[in-house]
């Protein structure tokens, strides 16, 4: 390593950029889910103090915002697998190719973060529906699950370039 330019080249190697994409997908979508699940958990613990028998229904609502984290994980895993870090020889990537993976990870990273939190909010208000009218709880689940649509679309747009990439 001689110059600052060499340092930059080393840090922003194709491999590292792809890894950065995987990290963003897992981390941001994971944060979204953690926050979302947390919001619902707070609401449901308050309700369960009054009526512990509704645990199952509350748990279903609490699990809903957890999927964004899984989508992020899946994207990260696919990237890591594609660049050969899981068994097999690591693939040599140009900086442009690494950046390609980084870009591809952005939809699920960003939408996962925001939709996880938004879905958590909807599910948390659904908890009060479960506590007052348990028979109608499927409606709360449905409206919370609709928020996830956009995480699924984002996942699709993240996955397609990664799957199409020929190494």
């Amino acid at each position: 390593m001689k110059t600052f330019g060499d340092l930059l080249n080393m840090i922003f190697s194709g491999q590292n950029l792809a890894l950065l994409g995987a990290a963003l997908a897992a981390a941001l979508a994971g944060i979204g889910s953690a926050k979302g699940v947390g919001i619902v958990g707070e609401a449901s613990s308050a309700m369960l103090q009054e009526d512990p028998t509704k645990f199952g229904k509350a748990l279903l609502l609490q699990a809903l915002p957890g999927t964004q984290g899984i989508y992020g994980l899946v994207t990260a895993f696919l990237i890591i697998n594609k660049i050969g870090l899981l068994g097999g020889a690591p693939v040599q990537l140009s900086t442009a190719q690494g950046a390609f993976f980084l870009m591809a990870s952005l939809p699920i990273a960003i939408v996962g973060l925001v939709s996880g939190i938004a879905q958590g909010r909807v599910a948390a208000t659904g908890i009060s529906l479960v506590s007052k009218r348990p028979a109608e709880s499927i409606k709360a689940v449905t409206s919370a699950a609709l928020v996830e649509t956009y995480a699924i679309f984002a996942l699709l747009i993240s996955l397609l370039p990664i799957l199409m990439f020929k190494v």
Binding site: V74, V141, F153, L156
Partner: protein, 644 residues
């Protein structure tokens, strides 16, 4: 595939006969009793006060429920999760002797339940007192305090490591003795005896060092601690014997739980009837009942009523009536009624889309979860559940529906190559080092996703056009033929033209232009001004954007389908990482089970919600008129058993 036609049913009956009339209606289970008056009873009539009957039956239900909860703890064989409810003939069970017998059991169970609660808390306090007395059994002085002419004593506890004698000495000379009777793990038991004058000082010195008088109480009359202990022990023995006696009796009573369960359901049935009865309006002699009856049940009901000699009539509902809605569908489609009910029932007299929806539901569900493995698990689970649990009607419909959707998943899994994701391919490639087999019979959506997208949108287009056709049909039948042809028909021609365009350019183009011209020419027809007519016509084309966004919404079929496949394959790759060793195989099995269970759970929920959403928003949005009130006939309400 229709909303059942209802008749308004009115009957005038003698007040004394009304109970047997309600019993008859409850047996038939085909009358939805309506409150006879909206706010106050009609002139000359009054509301029937059933509050005392109602509160009595509610109390008995609560008692019976609490008795059953209590006895459940004693049942010899706990009922399995999947054991179906018993079938009981309500009429042979429902007689005064049976009810009295069962209520006797209930009262006894509640009595011994309360007695058990009392005894349990009593034995607990006895045990506490015995434990407090234990260190002092050899002490023949009253507890905790005693006195003679010149001295006073107190027995108490302090920390084991503190020596009370040193405490007393270091705090000055007192005419006091602190005798340690015994030392336990954490506490020592101390008897402080002091001259009356020095007692207070000595006690406060010890108290500062952590001394506390014992909670135990004993006096000379009871024979000090030893005598008191004996008395308490005797009491405890007696209580424990009573508790055992209660347990024996509860165990014996728990064998009558079957009878009590039937009694409970007889009571809930009474409650439903009392509730219906309170909706009557009565004069001193006559009662008037109003309700709704499905048209098909009218003959059997009137045949029964003729035996009563009451005046009754069946009339058609008027415009203002809030008629309850009962869906009527064939054996296949009725399983999908829960999906419609979840949204909202159609208004009375409007179109019931269940039959048409069920086909789209089943196809779209399968495409979103195209996997043979998951489909098998869903179908087996649902059909096994029906066989084992014998669930009630709505639950049974729901399970059948998911079972059918599971079969659709299997078919789609064969077409698009989903076998727990791509397990066969991954295993072949990673472990057996052979060329992975081609899994998909038709095509693999992971490599041909554009084809899958087009397929999704094509199904969407069909779904939307179907919705428009229903709208056309509904309008046409209501005599709004112009509206049907111009507002809906032109769109149908336009969309069909777009489809035909893919096959034949000219024919398609002609249809599209014809549709557009119809729209521009007719959509402004409600405006008076000729200029506004043109603006309205051209403006209507803006709706194309709405239809386009509806159509693109069906891309979620692709998104959910791919998501389930990719997540499954990620778990498969992860599981096969360690290679085909013994540990590797164990690792694979663990990852396989956890991963696919998780994936199945997430995607089943997602698939259910999004398949339903496509029906509710894209499909129902074209024609559906919601807001129907469900038909809830007076019938035998049961929780524990199924009444025949």
């Amino acid at each position: 595939m229709a909303v059942t036609k209802m008749k308004r049913f009115r009957v005038l009956t003698l007040r004394d006969d009304s109970d047997s009339l309600f019993r008859l209606m409850q047996d038939l289970g085909c009358v939805d009793i309506e409150k006879e008056y909206a706010e106050s009873p009609p002139d000359g009539a009054e509301a029937l006060d059933m509050t005392s009957e109602d509160s009595e039956v509610k109390t008995r239900i609560a008692e019976t429920g609490s008795a059953l909860d209590f006895l459940a703890g004693y049942a010899a064989s706990s009922k399995g999760l999947f054991s179906p409810p018993r079938e009981v003939d309500r009429h042979s069970a429902d007689n005064g002797r049976y009810r009295d017998e069962a209520y006797g059991y209930v009262k006894r169970a509640v009595e011994i339940k309360n007695e058990k609660t009392r005894l349990t808390s009593e034995t607990q306090s006895l045990r506490n007192e015995l434990a407090a007395l234990k260190p002092w059994v050899n002490l023949d002085v009253p507890l905790p305090e005693s006195s003679t002419v010149t001295t006073r004593s107190v027995a108490g506890l302090m920390a084991a490591k503190t020596d009370p004698e040193t405490v007393l000495q270091s705090s000055g000379t007192f005419a006091a003795v602190a005798e340690t009777l015994s030392v336990g793990k954490t506490h020592r038991y101390v008897l402080l005896t002091a001259h009356r004058d020095d007692y207070d000082e000595a006690l406060s010195a010890l108290t500062r060092a952590g001394f506390a008088p014992t909670p135990a109480k004993a006096d000379e009359k009871s024979g000090f601690a030893k005598g008191r202990t004996a008395i308490l022990l005797q009491k405890l023995r007696a209580d424990e014997e009573k508790l055992r006696e209660i347990d024996r009796e509860a165990k014996a009573l728990s064998e009558q739980a079957d009878k009590i369960e039937v009694y409970h359901d007889l009571l809930t049935t009474d409650e439903a009837r009392i509730n219906a009865t309170s909706k009557m309006a009565v004069t001193s002699k006559v009662g008037m009942i109003t309700g709704w009856v499905p048209e098909a049940a009218v003959p059997s009901l009137s045949e029964k009523l003729d035996g009563y000699g009451d005046a009754y009539e069946f009339t058609d509902p008027t415009e203002e009536d809030d008629v309850p809605v009962l869906l009527k569908n064939n054996k296949f489609a009725k399983n999908f009624e829960p999906v419609v009910e979840l949204y909202s029932l159609p208004k009375y007299g409007t179109f019931d889309p269940t039959f048409i929806m069920s086909f789209f539901y089943i196809v779209i569900f399968g495409m979103m979860l195209a996997d043979v493995g998951y489909g098998l698990l869903i179908s087996i689970g649902c059909f096994l559940g029906i066989g084992l649990m014998k669930p009630k009607k709505s639950m049974k419909n729901m399970l059948t529906m998911f079972g059918l959707c599971g079969i659709s998943c299997i078919v789609m899994g064969v077409l698009f190559g989903g076998y727990f994701g791509d397990v066969p391919a991954v295993l072949a490639e990673k472990w057996f080092r052979v060329k992975p087999p081609r899994l998909a019979l038709w095509f693999d959506p992971l490599t041909n996703f554009t084809t899958f997208l087009i397929l999704s949108l094509a199904i969407g287009a069909l779904h939307l056009v179907c919705g428009l056709c229903i709208k056309f049909y509904v309008l046409w039948k209501r005599g709004k033929k112009f509206d049907a042809v111009f507002d809906v028909g032109s769109w149908i021609i336009l969309f069909l033209g777009a489809a035909v365009f893919l096959l034949s350019r000219t024919a398609g183009l002609v249809m599209v232009i014809a549709g557009l011209v119809m729209l521009v020419a007719t959509q402004g027809r409600h405006n008076k001004n000729i200029f506004m007519k043109i603006v309205g016509g051209v403006g209507s084309l803006y709706s194309i954007i709405g239809y386009l966004s509806d159509l693109l919404s069906y891309s979620r079929i692709l998104a959910l389908g791919l998501a389930s496949m990719v997540i499954a394959s990620v778990f498969n790759i992860l599981g096969t990482l360690p290679g085909p060793s013994v540990i590797g195989v164990i690792f694979f099995i663990v990852i396989f089970l956890i991963g696919h269970l998780l994936n199945m759970a997430i995607n089943m929920l997602g698939t259910f919600v999004h398949t339903s959403r496509l029906q509710y928003i894209e499909f129902f949005g074209k024609f559906y008129e919601d807001g129907g009130r469900p038909f809830e006939p007076l019938t035998a309400e049961s929780k524990y058993v199924n009444f025949k």
